[in-house]
Amino acid sequence: MTALAIKNVSVFYPVKGKPPVHALKNIDLEIHEKDFVVALGASGCGKSTLLNLIAGFMAPSEGEISLNGRVVTGPGADRSVVFQKHALLPWLNVLDNVAFGLKIQGQGQAKREQIAREFIKLLGLEQFEQSATYELSGGMQQRVGIARALTSDPDILLMDEPLGALDALTRERAQELILKVWRDTGKMVFFITHSVEEALFMGTKLIVMSPRPGRISHVFDLPFSRQYFESGNAREIKASAEFISLRETILRIIFADEAGANHE
């Protein structure tokens, strides 16, 4: 059983003459096979810090993160990252960008292009194989980033606001695309977003984080992505009474956190 385990993880920075600042305090979280975990929260709540810890770009001050029993000590191909932006290599075309990870891992050209083409097809980029990445729209660039992350067959996909820079229409399409990719590949996903609607629609599990110190304040199990696979109508689900009432509940939590920040 593949699983990511975050045990009692804290991150703090020493401050001269004051108690240390906690970016994250006592985080406990388990992500299991086929989980789509979405992290949501006011700015400064430590969502990105948590993702960076899982990716191995940062080290926890206390506690431990392990994937399938192995402790995370640095970045690795079992945890692929989809960044918000600026992560493609503009000197490579789409095909070579998608195949980049495989090249790093020493795959031969024929083999890595074959695998890359598979994911280019999955993300619907066939016509753009030879295009330069800077000629693509923001939505297309994110698809290239997702395809690239999938090529190394990771256990978990880490997505740091991957759709934050997209316009509303493209964003909705990309949400559905990511859900389909998730269903078809069966990866664990840890997904950060600022959009409550996006979080509710996409996740199987929602963690709401609160700042000062960064912590997980609420956890919700979500039914909406399963409903989407049954009905195929995303807008209908997002307009349902159940969806709206949960959205308002979560917005109240986040607004309360933001208000608390202003009173300090």
Binding site: A87, P90, F100
Partner: protein, 286 residues
């Protein structure tokens, strides 16, 4: 209309007060937008006409500034007869060899060194003081040392030019290391890249635009230093030609030599720009 008059009027100053309206296919306010080739051509023609006018009309003695035809004649003479017993093309060849030898050497050493200094605090700690120490010193000042240490042959000449090209190459490559975004670097590490792979596949390619700029600056320094390098114990080369011609007050040859040096440097600069467009078409758009 009255608004424009109130703000800056017309004429030369108006361009500074308010950007021009965008033409079709342009975007308002992009700095330096528009064609400059025709203006440059007109300026060159005007400069040469002015030069011809003041010399042919006799306002300036030929000793101070010879006429364009005198300079052209000097060129044909030297091409035909050579200068101090050495053929014209040989002067060009030997100088080009010195400058480009030094340039290639400076690239081969300076680019890896700059990348290393950008990547590692140890390399930065070791090489920053010596490079920053010698960088502002004019090559003429340490020319005597170079000659005492490395003799009066080609070695000291090439090393002198090399030392003036090296610093901009190192600085350019070092600054270029910062061009890669942390997301690009993290992406490579996420796939299990080694540090060396990150340097080769992410850091170096994204540093290329800075490195090309450094090459253009560096080769310019190389040609500047050439004359100094050919001051002592040289019997051929464009710098030598200019220096000895000036000693014998052969001003046409001096000016001809200067123009030839400038022409070669200009041609090479265009070559680098051409290669740059081929190698880094993504510059500024990544």
């Amino acid at each position: 209309m009255s608004d424009q008059d109130a703000k800056g009027g017309s004429g030369l100053l108006a361009g500074l007060m308010k950007a021009k309206p965008a033409k079709p296919g342009e975007i308002y306010g992009v700095p330096g937008q528009g064609e400059s080739f025709k203006i440059s051509a007109v300026v060159i023609v005007l400069l040469i006409s002015f030069w011809g006018f003041v010399t042919y009309a006799g306002y300036i003695q030929p000793l101070f500034l010879p006429s364009p035809t005198a300079v052209l004649n000097a060129l044909f003479d030297v091409i035909k007869e050579g200068f101090t017993g050495v053929g014209f093309w040989e002067h060009i060849w030997i100088s080009t060899l010195r400058v480009f030898g030094a340039f290639v050497l400076a690239c081969a050493i300076g680019i890896p060194l700059g990348i290393a200094m950008g990547m590692s605090p140890v390399a930065r700690g070791i090489f920053d003081p010596p490079i920053e120490f010698y960088r502002p010193i004019p090559p003429l000042a340490y020319l005597p040392l170079m000659i005492i240490w490395f003799g009066i042959d080609e070695l000291s000449k090439v090393l002198l030019i090399f030392s003036s090209v090296l610093a901009p190459m190192v600085l350019g490559a070092r600054a270029g290391v910062k061009s890669a975004s942390i997301e690009q670097i993290h992406a490579a590490y996420s796939f299990g890249a080694t540090r060396w792979q990150v340097i080769r596949t992410v850091i170096l390619p994204s540093a290329m635009p800075e490195i090309f700029t450094a090459m253009r600056v560096g080769i310019g320094f190389g040609w500047t230093t050439l004359v100094a390098a050919e001051m002592v114990a040289a019997t051929s080369g464009l710098g030598y030609m200019v220096l000895s011609a000036s000693r014998f007050l052969q001003t046409p040859v001096v000016i001809m030599g200067i123009v030839v040096i400038a022409a070669i440097a200009y041609a090479f600069d265009h070559l680098v720009r051409f290669v740059e467009r081929r190698v880094v078409p993504w510059k500024g758009r990544g």
